[in-house]
């Protein structure tokens, strides 16, 4: 009934299945002994994902790492009280979204979007959850620490990569991920260009000085 899988594919499947954390193709390769994990392991993973597609268990890729999980449409049967992930506060949610959509982002930048100071605990909670991490410093005066989301963040929210963040393309296209300063400047330039009269007045003003 089943086509006999070759041992390499079986080994890849077993390794991912046994692992207690998602693994990259390279990590899997180091277990199953592949010299060219990028090719061998990935094609094995594709075959395995295909075998499980539509069944109760699925093989998924999140942020370059692979793991098995139950099919999403079975949630109602499997949901149990004790499994509920911790709820984030509203501040926590906002900060998480801002880090995810704007990364890398400094604390000051987060605060300027939210319009309030962010309690120190908020970022800590996100880091403790393993969803946000410090990622170096920005090369500006003061060298503030900047933050990014982690691979665990992608795993938790079922995102293959940041490109899958809901609506990120639309937000970017609408300029809503640009700093206000840039957007204001652009809007003013547009206004001037589309309004010859104003422009003429501005030029005249400038000359009259």
């Amino acid at each position: 009934m089943n086509p006999a899988p070759d041992d390499f594919v079986r080994a890849v499947e077993a390794a991912v299945f046994a692992a207690d954390a998602p693994m990259t193709a390279a990590e899997i390769g180091s277990y199953v002994g592949s010299d060219d994990a990028d090719k061998d392991v990935k094609s094995a993973l594709t075959a395995i994902a295909e075998r499980h597609a539509g069944h109760g268990i699925e093989l998924v890729e999140r942020g370059g790492r692979w793991h098995f999980q139950t099919a999403a449409d079975l949630a109602h049967m499997l949901r149990r009280e004790r499994d509920a992930p911790r709820k984030l506060t509203r501040a926590g949610l906002e900060v998480l979204a801002i880090v995810a959509y704007h990364e890398p982002v400094s604390r000051a930048e987060i605060e300027s979007i939210r319009g309030v100071q962010t309690a120190k605990g908020t970022l800590d909670v996100l880091m403790e959850a393993g969803w946000v991490r410090p990622a170096g410093r920005r090369d500006v005066p003061g060298r503030p620490i900047i933050y990014r989301t982690t691979a665990d963040f992608l795993t938790h929210f079922g995102l293959e990569s940041r490109k899958d963040l809901p609506g990120i393309d639309d937000l970017r296209a609408a300029g809503l991920l640009d700093p206000v300063d840039d957007a204001v400047e652009r809007a003013l330039e547009d206004a001037i260009e589309s309004d010859e009269l104003t422009r003429a007045e501005l030029v005249k003003d400038g000359e009259s000085e």
């Binding site: 046994a18 692992a19 277990y31 949630a75 499997l78 949610l93 995810a100 929210f157 809901p166």
Partner: protein
């Protein structure tokens, strides 16, 4: 902050004007409860949603009026209003006058630019609110999808794992630099507090001390750094000597605990 329990749903609904704050019958009566908002921008966003139009089309002037009215209401009710709400109110009042008066070319940035800026900030905050709600609605691990309950686990492949901390690394470099740097030895001429001086001072002070008092209290206030350290050492010796003579009692609750002195009550 609002209660967390109600939050997910509240958030998903976009917290519009018909949300939990609008308990009163009339749409215009907005229960004054500043605790519901995380700062003025949050309140402004909630108010702007009541205009029920795209955020790009909201009337900033109307929004300003609403905010000012809201703060005035809160003031009437003698509620304590946080400073940032008042600062925003003052700024909005300024913005309002700028928008109403004919454009003054000398004012830079113009009221229109400030209004545009405010509108953009509201759009950005709103965008992140909605993004967060959509993020939370995804199939999340542990809520909608589940990982294997009892994985066997994989052992690491690395045969030997070397460990060192960044601190170790930096300390090593410091050590190398220190070791190879040319070294000059100089014996510094130090200011010290002599044992005689310490004996005199402690004797004087302990006489008027009835409570257990830390030895640090006996040191001259003006002494700092190495001199203070010397004073501490001398005073300690002095205290031992005076204790031997039965003129004071020493007390320490444990190794390295504070050391207390008290004059012997005759």
């Amino acid at each position: 902050m609002t209660g967390q329990g109600a939050f997910d749903a509240d958030f998903a609904a976009g917290r519009d004007a018909d949300g939990p704050q609008a308990g009163a019958a009339s749409d215009d009566v907005f229960t004054v409860e500043l605790d519901n908002w995380e700062g003025p921008l949050d309140l402004l966003l909630t108010l702007s949603r009541r205009q029920k139009v795209d955020l790009k089309q909201i009337s900033i002037l109307e929004l300003v009026e609403q905010y000012l009215a809201y703060i005035a209401d809160a003031a009437d009710m003698k509620l304590e209003i946080a400073a940032d709400y008042l600062v925003m109110a003052a700024w909005l009042a300024y913005l309002k006058s700028g928008l109403l008066l004919p454009g003054d070319p000398d004012i830079d940035p113009s009221a229109e630019e400030l209004a545009l800026r405010l509108q953009m900030r509201l759009q950005r905050l709103n965008a992140m609110r909605e993004a967060a709600a959509r993020l939370m609605a995804r199939d999340r691990i542990g809520r909608d999808v589940f990982r294997r309950g009892t994985p066997e686990g994989l052992r690491t492949v690395r045969t030997r794992q070397w460990h060192a901390s960044l601190y170790d690394l930096l300390a090593s470099y410091g050590r190398v630099q220190a070791r190879t740097a040319p070294v000059t030895h100089m014996v510094a001429n130090r200011e010290v507090m002599t044992l005689e001086a310490a004996l005199q001072r402690v004797t004087q002070l302990v006489g008027s001390t009835l409570d257990w008092t830390r030895i640090e209290a006996f040191l001259p206030d003006a002494y700092r750094g190495a001199l203070r350290k010397s004073a501490l050492a001398s005073s300690f010796l002095a205290a031992l000597e005076l204790a031997r003579q039965g003129r004071l009692t020493l007390r320490q609750d444990g190794a390295f605990a504070p050391l207390y002195l008290r004059g012997s009550s005759a």
